[in-house]
């Protein structure tokens, strides 16, 4: 069977780093900034987003033959809203405290541009297998991005990681890091670092060779 466009493996790999939703495409910024004050809420949010992304991608891919061009965005949004309702009810039933803490950001997954862009770019054009691989890759990339920001903010802000103390008790705890300004500044600096690292990697050392081989193979 012939596929048009990238294969499942390429979709998966692309989602993790080369087309990372946060660092490369600047999508899904609301949860990226809002729930990364500590690891626990960040990982819950990543899991909820992954559930919605995988389910929506699978369903949209399965019904892609029925989509009408002018109504497709509406279909994507309503599909996503349905799965978000499921995720929200689940969190409220089994993780009540976490659901209270995440507050409006769980329903706001509906307007997370990562999911709608994956439905549009991949799931509405390719088969169920590719769509699943794409959703898994993107979810992993999104989770890694949330984890990187939450790690910096929780360690510097509360001297802990996943609630476990990692810095000596004498650490003052930079309160600003868990407040909104810390989120903006951390993400800004991490974006700059990622940009700088990828520039270096593209021009020097073994990474350039690996990248050259990878692009040649394609």
């Amino acid at each position: 069977m012939r596929h048009e466009g990238p294969t499942a493996l390429e979709r998966f790999v692309n989602g993790v780093l080369p087309e990372n939703p946060v660092y490369r495409q600047l999508l899904g910024m609301c949860p990226t900034l809002a729930v990364t004050g500590a690891m626990k809420p960040a990982m819950t949010m990543a899991a909820a987003t992954a559930f919605v992304l995988i389910s929506a991608n699978l369903l949209v891919s399965a019904i892609r033959g029925l989509l009408k061009p002018h109504l497709r965005i509406l279909v994507f949004t309503l599909t996503i809203a349905t799965f978000v309702t499921v995720a929200d009810r689940f969190l409220a039933a089994y993780m009540y405290e976490m659901s209270k803490q995440l507050g409006p950001y769980v329903p706001l997954i509906i307007v997370n541009c990562v999911i709608i862009s994956r439905c549009e770019i991949c799931a509405s054009k390719q088969g169920v297998g590719v769509a699943l691989a794409d959703a898994l890759g993107m979810s992993l990339g999104f989770a890694l991005a949330l984890a990187s920001i939450a790690t910096v903010r929780e360690i510097l802000g509360s001297a802990s990681w996943f609630g476990l103390p990692v810095l000596p008790a004498s650490w003052p705890g930079w309160g600003i890091m868990v407040l909104p300004p810390g989120a903006f500044v951390t993400l800004g600096l991490l974006l700059g670092t990622a940009e700088w690292a990828s520039k270096r990697r593209a021009t020097t050392g073994i990474w350039a060779t690996v990248r050259g081989l990878w692009s040649w193979r394609r």
């Binding site: 600047l26 900034l33 509406l74 809203a81 309702t85 409006p104 706001l108 307007v111 300004p181 974006l191």
Partner: protein
């Protein structure tokens, strides 16, 4: 007078103290994407304020009469259908789907209306109007209103819902216009290459968020001032 004080507090809180962009992080995508020039940023802010008010109006009506627990319409339907009177129909599980549908539909209608009757305004909004559907700020305002309506002790009226929506929209306009002003100046600065674009914009937003934290506590001052005004 008490109603008016409450309304002013809701408005100031949504616009300044808990600014939608700089405190709740909603509407970050246009905040970073459409903040290169002051006039387009201001246009975007106005479009968002307009749509947020319409969506809040429609969603408040739907929530109040249909989607909240103990809402009149489902209760009436339940009685007519001969349901068990000891139990009640709670449709709040449907809220998210209804809200996003209402928002998408109202953006579509606003677009058609503006294109038909205000072609000049339509041209200046350009592609931003359809993009507003996926703006988190609109859905966020509806969700905040829903939270107030689900708690029977705080049942918000339409004026409070509109106060939140207009305040939030104007707060968004203020933030995005300020940001665009700073970024216009930033074009002339020597920014480190990796930070160019989104990186420096986020750091600027962080400093702006720090400045907006200074508004914390303003609501108490406003409350005292209004009470003094009423007593006079």
């Amino acid at each position: 007078m008490e109603t008016l004080t409450g309304l002013v507090l809701i408005f100031i809180s949504a616009a300044l103290i808990n600014n939608f962009v700089l405190h709740y992080f909603v509407g970050i995508c246009p905040f970073l994407g459409v903040s290169r020039r002051v006039d387009t940023a201001f246009g975007m802010g106005c479009a968002v304020t307009f749509v947020i008010s319409i969506a809040a109006l429609l969603n408040w009506t739907l929530t109040y009469f249909v989607l909240r627990p103990e809402a009149p319409v489902p209760a009436w339907a339940w009685r007519v259908a001969g349901g068990d009177p000891a139990r009640e129909l709670d449709l709040s599980v449907l809220s998210y789907i209804v809200y996003i549908f209402v928002i998408a539909a109202s953006v579509q209608f606003v677009e058609m209306y503006v294109r038909r009757f205000f072609p000049a305004l339509y041209r200046s909004f350009g592609v931003y109007l359809p993009l507003i559907t996926t703006n988190c700020a609109i859905l966020f305002a509806s969700l905040e209103i829903m939270k107030q309506l689900q708690d029977p002790t705080r049942l918000w009226g339409l004026h409070q819902a509109l106060g939140l929506a207009v305040g939030g929209g104007l707060g968004f306009t203020l933030a995005i216009a300020l940001m665009a002003g700073i970024r216009e100046e930033l074009d002339l600065c020597d920014v480190p290459v990796p930070l160019k674009g989104a990186g420096i914009a986020l750091i600027v937003a962080g400093i702006m968020a720090m400045a907006f934290m200074g508004f914390t506590g303003v609501e108490r001052g406003v409350e005292t001032a209004l009470a003094a005004l009423a007593a006079r």
